[in-house]
């Protein structure tokens, strides 16, 4: 018997469109709704959005700060995305960032190595810490079927509370009045690109390289093929002789590796120490970045820059118009709502669904 035919097109609907259409329209729609909210509070839309724009990219320094903000989001977005490609939903990026930061700061502050090499070793220590922390939920999923969404959430609590303890007790800088670790050695710094005034450090460049490498890795290596196949059809992957449990563990480790790099780059490039209760929610916003990037590694770069720009520009917006920086949270939330529920955007702008099959974000329990 014949298969169910496709639904007939409604009149006036545009077909297809590039992969950029939905994210761009989602951002546009969110900003329009943001504008309505600003008007509703009686403030000046132009002043608010003008401030947001100038604060984000109005001056060389603003641009540099935006890129600084974008850096952890690029790493984090890649971490979530790698999981998505294998059909895994890694909510544990936040915890993996915490472990990565901790490992990097411990090596940076307590190990003595020649300058430069020290930075490299500390960076890899952070990346490796994140990878191991990510691999454990992967191993649990592969061996027992315990769902990674649940286990990674639990591992976030363990990671965040444990690093908090490590900062406050064994690694506390007793010379300081605040609860933080000692500063890392000068030789462990990831260098600033344009001096400390602009704050932009080489971690940003590493992030760009990581995005390009991830795109290449997923598309052109046999491990990337295994990851994508396990995500697109795990039964077919098993049928074809692939080791799906191993792929799951490896994917979670790679995902954690990226998260660990996010933490290491923040600590070694920007903060130079680790404060108690440092968690900044990068891990959770990273899920938003991966969604906004439509799980495209290169797309993570502009998505993260947009996110960084919103955060960076919010201050000047508040200064110029009196609108609370919390408006930015609303705009960000709307962007994600529209990207995740892309049918809403397609309905508003009458764009038909693209033909390409979607990516399964997560699966049910069990193997």
């Amino acid at each position: 018997m014949s298969t169910t035919p496709p639904t007939p097109p409604a009149n006036g609907w545009r077909t297809g469109g590039g992969i950029l259409v939905v994210p761009v329209l989602a951002i546009f729609t969110a900003l329009v709704i943001g504008a309505i909210i600003i008007i509703a509070t009686g403030a000046d839309v132009l002043a608010a959005y003008g401030g947001l724009f100038m604060g984000a990219i109005g001056t060389p320094r603003a641009i540099a700060y935006t890129l600084v903000e974008a850096t952890p989001y690029i790493f984090g977005g890649l971490a979530v995305l790698i999981g998505f490609r294998a059909g895994l939903f890694n909510i544990g990026v936040e915890g993996q960032i915490a472990v990565g930061s901790m490992c990097a700061v411990v090596v940076g502050a307590f190990v003595h190595l020649p300058p430069g090499i020290h930075a490299v070793v500390a960076f890899f220590a952070g990346a490796l810490g994140g990878a191991l922390w990510g691999a454990i939920p992967g191993w649990l999923r592969a061996r027992t079927g315990a769902h990674e969404v649940i286990t990674t959430i639990m591992f976030n609590y363990i990671a965040i509370r444990s690093t908090d303890y490590l900062i406050k007790v064994p690694f506390l800088d007793k010379a300081s009045s605040s609860q933080r670790t000692p500063f890392i050695a000068e030789g462990a710094h990831i260098p600033f690109l344009f001096g400390p005034d602009y704050r932009l450090h080489a971690g940003f460049l590493i992030a760009i390289v990581a995005a390009v490498a991830t795109a290449w890795f997923l598309k052109r290596t046999i491990i990337g093929f295994e990851i994508r196949t396990a995500g697109a059809n795990p039964d077919a992957a098993h049928y074809a002789g692939m080791n799906v449990p191993r792929t799951i563990i490896l994917t979670m480790a790679l995902s954690g590796l990226m998260a660990g790099m996010a933490g290491a780059s923040q600590v070694l490039g920007l903060e130079h120490n680790l404060k108690a209760s440092f968690s900044a929610g990068y891990g959770f916003d990273s899920i938003a970045i991966a969604l906004l990037a439509a799980s495209n590694p290169i797309g993570v770069i502009p998505a993260a820059m947009f996110w960084g720009a919103l955060r960076n520009g919010a201050g000047l917006m508040q200064l110029n118009s009196g609108i609370s920086i919390n408006l930015i949270n609303i705009v960000q939330a709307l962007v994600i709502a529209f990207v995740a529920a892309d049918q809403i955007v397609r309905q508003i702008y009458r764009i038909r669904s693209a033909r390409s099959a979607g990516i399964t974000l997560s699966r049910g329990w069990g193997r």
């Binding site: 990337g224 697109a232 098993h238 049928y239 099959a357």
Partner: protein
């Protein structure tokens, strides 16, 4: 008197295709009208319009001479149309009576009047010779009896016209024979029947009139007296078709698959394969005949490494692959055409090219070390698409865009592209059109002639008879008989499939 049902110029278009194109036909009272056609010929679309599920773009439907507009299934039922779907619409945990009256309950105050409903059901059953246990639970009944429940359900709701959609697909040959008796009795009582099938033999045995659909058009209107299988097949496909595969006698060589005392559990942990030992030699096709659900799926899954058996050993060309998984089975030279091409055989969101190397992506020339060689993959795909006649515009087209027949050709092409010791083909032509079936059968025979051993599992007895050099009959998880392919007799195998052995009684 006007015909019970008449269809005039019925046309339905979907984007890119005209599913039915100005179809005309009539159905007289007390007539069995069969519709033949390949997949995608428009049979389903036509029936869905009759049953009110699709609205025609053009044309008219007349019931007893009156033009009608059917709005949905409930409206169709009210107008005396009944449909028995290929996949039954029954609630397994309810009784026969409850299923029949579901949505149509006779109430007595707040209570359902089961007694009077049962009386009506019994009288219907008696009138039409449909023997059913009214108080039994559906999931306790064999498939053939469940189908009778579906038919009674339609009659209970007052159907005068019954549409039967591929009704024999799930039946044993004997159950099918019983169904034909029922259908003839329905006809004798004045009911009109539309019988949809792709099995030529059945249509010739049963129908008063045969309409053949091809690409949405009615291309033939004939009767069993004026047609034969070859003629009907060429009408369906639009060219002459080889119904019987030419094959030379097998020349079996050394043992290439050796299974001893295999025991396999199904997903729920019940024993599905209880104790199977069998051997397959190079250059022979061994067919497993059996009604679906007698352990064939689990046998194939265990042999190919998809699931782990509980007990027993499996050797392929001298290498033990028991408990080693799919990778070792592939390495031992096993090819596998899986039962469900969309679940296991393909990644629908991948291109044809990527699907062509799904199990060889990691070896040369498709990979150099860890790096994928896209040029080699493209070349392989181009060659295979040509050799296996996959109808597609591009090797970069997604597998999801292909028809079922072309999807299956991709699977077959991939599995036959590498040198094999053993080919496991599970339902290799399920749901395919005559043209694709012919092609795949020829490919399997050619692979046998190359010296590969073939394990063929099929629910279609005709397929087993056409291809197998030896036939093993599987019943309730065991091989209960072996028959030589050349001397095989349909009826004998049919009885064996129902568990009835010549030595007497049920196995």
């Amino acid at each position: 008197m006007p015909p019970v049902l008449e269809v005039r110029n019925l046309t339905k278009r979907f984007p890119g295709i005209t599913a039915t194109d100005a179809v005309n036909f009539t159905l007289e009272a007390g007539e069995i009208h069969a519709f033949l056609g390949e997949n995608g010929a428009g049979k389903s679309t036509l029936m869905n319009m009759l049953y009110g599920l699709y609205r025609p773009d053009e044309g008219q439907i007349l019931l007893n001479g009156q033009v009608v507009h059917i709005n949905g299934a409930n409206d169709a039922i009210k107008r005396g149309l009944g449909m028995v779907h290929q996949h039954f619409m029954l609630v397994p945990t309810l009784t026969v009576t409850e299923n029949i009256i579901l949505g149509n309950e006779v109430v007595n105050g707040l209570l359902i009047d089961i007694a009077s409903a049962q009386q009506r059901i019994r009288s219907l059953a008696q009138t039409f010779g449909l023997d059913i246990p009214v108080d039994a639970l559906i999931h306790d009944l064999p498939v053939g009896v469940q189908q009778r429940v579906e038919i009674i359900k339609a009659l209970y709701r007052g159907a005068d016209i019954l549409i039967l959609d591929e009704p024999t697909a799930v039946l044993t040959p004997q159950e099918a024979d019983d169904l034909f008796v029922v259908i003839k009795r329905l006809k004798a009582q004045g009911k009109s029947i539309i019988f949809i099938s792709h099995k030529l033999r059945e249509v010739l045995a049963l129908a008063d009139r045969i309409s053949v659909l091809r690409r949405g058009k009615l291309v033939g209107d004939t009767t069993p007296a004026l047609a034969d299988e070859a003629k009907l097949a060429s009408m369906m496909v639009g060219r002459d078709v080889v119904l019987h595969i030419e094959k030379s006698p097998a020349t079996p060589g050394e043992v290439v698959l050796d299974i001893t005392h295999l025991q396999v559990a199904d997903e729920r942990g019940n024993i599905a394969v209880s104790d199977v030992s069998l051997q397959i030699h190079r250059g022979e096709i061994v067919g497993i005949a059996g009604v679906q659900g007698n352990g064939q799926t689990e046998l194939v899954a265990a042999v190919t490494g998809l699931i782990q058996p509980l007990n027993g050993t499996i050797y392929v060309a001298g290498t033990e692959i028991t408990w080693q998984g799919t990778n070792r089975a592939i390495a031992a030279g096993m090819g596998h055409i899986p039962e469900d091409r969309q679940q296991h055989g393909l990644v629908l969101s991948y291109s044809i090219a990527d699907n062509m190397v799904l199990s060889t992506y990691d070896i040369t020339p498709f990979a150099k070390g860890l790096i994928i060689n896209e040029a080699a993959i493209a070349q392989q795909a181009t060659t295979l698409v040509q050799r296996f006649d996959v109808r597609t515009g591009s090797i970069d087209a997604l597998a999801s865009t292909l028809s079922g027949g072309n999807q299956q050709k991709v699977v077959v092409a991939r599995e036959l592209a590498r040198p094999l010791n053993l080919l496991v083909a599970a339902q290799p032509t399920r749901g395919l059109d005559v043209g694709s079936i012919e092609f795949i059968h020829k490919s399997i025979v050619a692979e046998r002639d190359n010296g590969t051993g073939v394990l063929l599992v099929s629910a279609e007895l005709d397929e087993i008879l056409a291809l197998a050099d030896r036939i093993l009959v599987m019943y309730r998880g065991q091989i209960i008989a072996e028959v030589a392919g050349a001397s095989a007799d349909r009826n004998q195998i049919g009885l064996l499939m129902a568990g009835i052995t010549p030595t007497g009684g049920e196995a």
